[in-house]
Symmetry: C2
Subunit: 623 residues, 2 copies
């Protein structure tokens, strides 16, 4: 039963903060016990930290979460969601009833781990080691683009300091001098299944963070005065600050405090009752902290916003990765486009953007997880990020891409050097799984153009696409197929060869479209008329055009791709046409054996995806 | 033209080492120029380091690369392959002719980046930040299992120190006290597109490595005496050693030394000629270093090797993740099985193995990249690793899994907590893309059992499987379907319901098999006879059984999965049956909307993959 609300006037004093901390513990217990699941003990360790932060330091207008001057609060330890939601109750934006009936329930917004279905949450967390990297992206936006004094506060767990991504984040926070980023590490000594690697060895954490360039502060995370002093001190260094707080898991309830075996477990009702009694009972304090200053207008876009895409003569040769770079450079005219790269911008050609808009280009060095995370963070602030590296190396950030979808992030990824077509560098550099893995991301768009104009048009379209979009580009230069007025949109395709006498359809994208066109020529020499489809949009897929071709050519389709056989272009076509509404006799040519080095021509032939293999497959369908 | 071989007797003196270093530079230039691609400058910076190491410190019997007493040499900076291959020439295992005609050529073994097609290469590298993590796995094997004095030497680039995985590796090297691991960082200051983050700031690298627990040594990487002293000093600490070597990219050729713009570029013929002249011309030294002591027999397997798998009564409820743990514990009777987990062993139930064989259980804490890398490293030494975590978090290690396939590694992965079935924790913890992403790994096996006995049998089968195998397990407990004598093998399936009057086929795996069985009951109540297939092997897939069912039920298939719609079970079935040899009218039920929290039942229903939705899809096929 909720007690009457008591509201603190002005900035709460430390005695009120102590009461607030007790309330946050009690509410963390109540909400998780009511839900029958959740992480009360991981919430209780950080309750004092959050009470001080929210009541006295976080500058946030809770009635206006979209105020661009607000500080940002990211729970990198997303499993402490009971604490975050108890904070929301304490500031008055979530009712006690919602906390007690909505937490972890179906159809409700107080999910097991925070997601942006809540207006105060910037990014989804719950995969550990991600909140701080996202925070780096937000802080880069604050310092370099918004030029606004908001701070980014990230509550981190100690267990997640074992994730390399946390050190990628601290490294970039140092490189970019992010004085607006404060990480608070809740060192409660206990992970899921027992003690953490470093236990309460705050000195080692501090030595590591300091070596990575942070200013470090070590405190007792249950000493409200010490916390207040640390959060005050945290403002005004010329780089990131890491506060290492020694805490006790389950602090406040003596039966479980610092006990193993209580990770992720709600208290049974009788224990919850004893815990709440030990904590002094339920409270209904309402406490709000400082509000931000007036929002500053975002710095004006540096140019007038007229985007003029590059054009090429039909038949001239251009690599789609080069077209990507040139299109990005054209998009620089939109003041909201930002570009990130992972130390390969001369290969992805993202450097073309850097040349025209260096102030909106961010080098993430060889740290692909941080590359994607920074893109998400910049997206939180309304920018339109494009992040690129070799397609093979985007696999390094797959968990971040997965989580980006849960964050409802709008980010654009480009992977260059796809498939065996790259030639001599060998299989470590060949993306052969990217189409499958990135198709299997919620709400994603997967594009794979074959020439310069289609690439440029699709890059421009990506800037306005919601969700995660991915563009696969090719290393080598191939002939331009389309004139400057040809239109391309996600979900579309192009029929490049078509006649009433078509008896087979050849489907390709990227390099295999060029091979399919060559195969059509080989077949034509034998009097066999083949339809050829440029399936530049792998997801969403143009089912109507595919179905029409299947009907016109008695289901005879040859799908060819520079990718493993599973889940790529062939899989997408099979999935689209398997419902029995059209005839289907699909021959699928893809890379089956592990390739080595060689020339692109040798490797396309070795993989059985070159023109002669496509023509042979078509003939076998007609036999 | 090759000059006559001059062979050094005994351990080479430092003057000979200097000559060797010059030869390595010359051969790195010659091989890459002959190939027209490759990384001579990144090879030249590390030539002195390798000359000293190979001539005087690496204990390696080049005629017997399988000698278990050999040291290990891993090129984490795999792009310096010209240097590695030049070393192979210098020790006499690769001819000058192979070096000059085989490098980066089609069908040859001297690929652009090293892979284990070469008998002296343990693991494929070329995705930066991976060699050191693999080395940690090999060193763990040496210290804890082989109990052999071999050392693991890893040549690292400076750019790749920006990868978080390198710090996960150093962290674990410290946790496990890996005194047998020596990382040599070639700090040549220049990355692909310009200066690295830290340039020649060796002190910062050293401070970071020391904070992570390594003994550090800073040297001039071109001072052969200093290198020799450092490699001597590196032996005998009680933890890992990191040698930071200040070097010059392109060292030895004044026209390009320390110049930007020469990353990954072979020298044109005229420059190569001048470079070779400046380096004193071609040489044909043959130098071998120390050999290892006699190989020690591997410590005997601790038990007699009789594996007795767990059994359950049909109808009792058991979670497949629990069956995984119990099967692992049974496999402990094989002395070669080792288990790794990422701080969730009480959830994946890998802890069951730890209880019976703690000496072969390795806790990787929350560091999934290192989890997979350590498995690969243990596999290098002939162990049979199983690595487990939440299925969603294996996505963190996707690039490592991709590379493992190129390494020809035999590793077993298990992911628990798949799909919306997990319930209240929400989408961050739900693997919904794992089947697609792991199917798209070269040579992988993807298994998704539905009950205890099938899980146990498949776990046992995985122990003898080559390549990358993946087992998806489920959070909740479901009824045991099979008796103890039922056999399961990768590539198989089970037909659980079958009659001559079947008019539709329901295909499921894991939780959706149980829902499909319930749907068959619903349909049977209406007099509709449905065949039900347990598709526990998603890859390889049992095409014959699927095709027979398609024929028997007029192509009417309902495939249901707890996964996004792309590339999973439905994609696998569509790919398998799209060639037109059988009728196909596939209805695919999968998770399309972003789920939140809820009970498993609520979420299965929300996703449209519960029994009632399956029955409705079957009815619609029959309408």
């Amino acid at each position: 039963m909720a007690s009457p609300v008591s509201e603190a006037a002005g900035i709460a004093d430390l005695e009120t903060v102590r009461e607030l901390a007790a309330q946050l513990r009690v509410d963390s217990i109540r909400s998780s016990t009511s839900a029958g699941s959740g992480h009360p003990t991981s919430s209780m360790s950080a309750a004092d930290l959050l009470a001080v932060l929210v009541a006295r330091h976080l500058r946030y207008d809770w009635d206006n979460p979209k105020d661009p001057a607000n500080d940002h609060l990211i729970f990198s330890k997303g499993h402490a969601s009971p604490l975050l939601y108890s904070v929301y109750k304490a500031v008055g934006v979530v009712t006690d009833e919602e906390l007690m009936t909505g937490y972890r329930r179906f159809g409700q917004r107080l999910q097991g781990h925070p997601t942006p279905v809540l207006p105060w949450v910037d990014v989804a967390t719950g995969s550990l080691g991600q909140g701080l990297p996202y925070g780096v992206g937000v802080a880069i936006a604050g310092k370099y683009l918004d030029k606004s004094p908001y701070r980014v506060w990230v509550l981190c767990g100690d267990s997640e300091m074992a994730e390399g991504s946390m050190w990628e984040a601290l490294d970039k926070a140092h490189v970019y001098g992010l004085s607006n980023l404060i990480a608070i590490v809740d060192v409660n000594r206990l992970g899921q299944r027992g003690a953490t690697e470093l236990g309460w060895d705050l000195d080692t954490y501090a030595r590591r963070a300091a070596a990575f360039g942070a200013h470090t502060i070590e405190i007792d995370g249950h000493d409200v005065d010490a916390i207040d002093a640390a959060l005050t001190e945290a403002d005004g260094f010329d780089g990131p600050v890491v506060i290492l707080a020694k805490t006790i898991k389950g602090d406040g309830f003596s039966e479980i405090a610092d006990h193993e075996g209580w990770h992720g477990k709600p208290l049974p009702a009788d224990m919850a009752e004893r815990a709440i009694a030990e904590l002094g009972g339920e409270r209904n304090l309402r406490v709000r902290g400082p509000v931000p200053g007036p929002s500053l207008p975002r710095p004006a876009a540096p140019v007038n916003g007229t985007v003029t895409l590059p054009t090429w003569e039909v038949g001239t040769k251009v690599a789609t990765r080069k077209a990507y770079g040139e299109a990005l450079a054209a998009l620089a005219a939109r003041g909201d486009v930002v570009v990130l790269d992972a130390e390969v911008s001369n290969s992805t050609h993202a450097e073309d953007f850097k040349k025209v808009a260096p102030e909106r280009f961010f080098e993430m060095y060889i740290a692909e997880q941080q590359l994607v995370a920074a893109a998400v963070g910049l997206g939180v602030r309304g920018y339109v990020p494009f992040a690129s590296t070799f397609a093979a190396f985007l696999s390094r950030a797959y968990d971040f891409v997965r989580m980006s979808a849960i964050s409802h992030a709008n980010i654009r990824l480009s992977g260059s050097h796809a498939g065996v077509e790259i030639g001599p560098d060998g299989p470590s550099q060949m993306a052969l799984e990217d189409l499958a893995s990135l198709r299997a991301v919620h709400g994603s768009t997967v594009l794979y153009p074959s020439d310069g104009p289609s690439t440029a048009k699709l890059v421009a379209a990506m800037a306005d696409l919601p969700g995660i979009s991915y563009l696969r580009t090719t290393r080598g230069a191939y002939p331009v197929l389309y004139g400057p007025d040809e239109q391309f949109a996600p979900g579309g395709s192009k029929v490049l060869r078509r006649s009433d006498s078509d008896v087979v359809t050849l489907i390709g994208a990227g390099v295999t479209l060029h091979e399919s066109l060559a195969a059509a020529d080989l077949l034509a020499a034998d009097g066999i008329s083949a339809r050829v489809i440029d399936l530049y949009s792998v997801k969403p897929i143009d089912t109507a055009t595919l179905a029409e071709a299947a009907r016109a050519t008695a289901g005879r389709l040859v799908v060819t791709e520079d990718h493993w056989p599973q889940g790529g272009v062939g899989g997408a076509v099979a999935e689209a046409l398997s419902d029995g509404t059209v005839p289907l006799k699909l021959r699928h040519l893809a890379v089956t054996d592990l390739p080595g080095s060689g020339t692109p021509e040798e490797l396309l032939d070795f993989a059985g995806i070159s023109a002669k293999h496509i023509a042979a497959a078509a003939r076998s369908l007609l036999a």
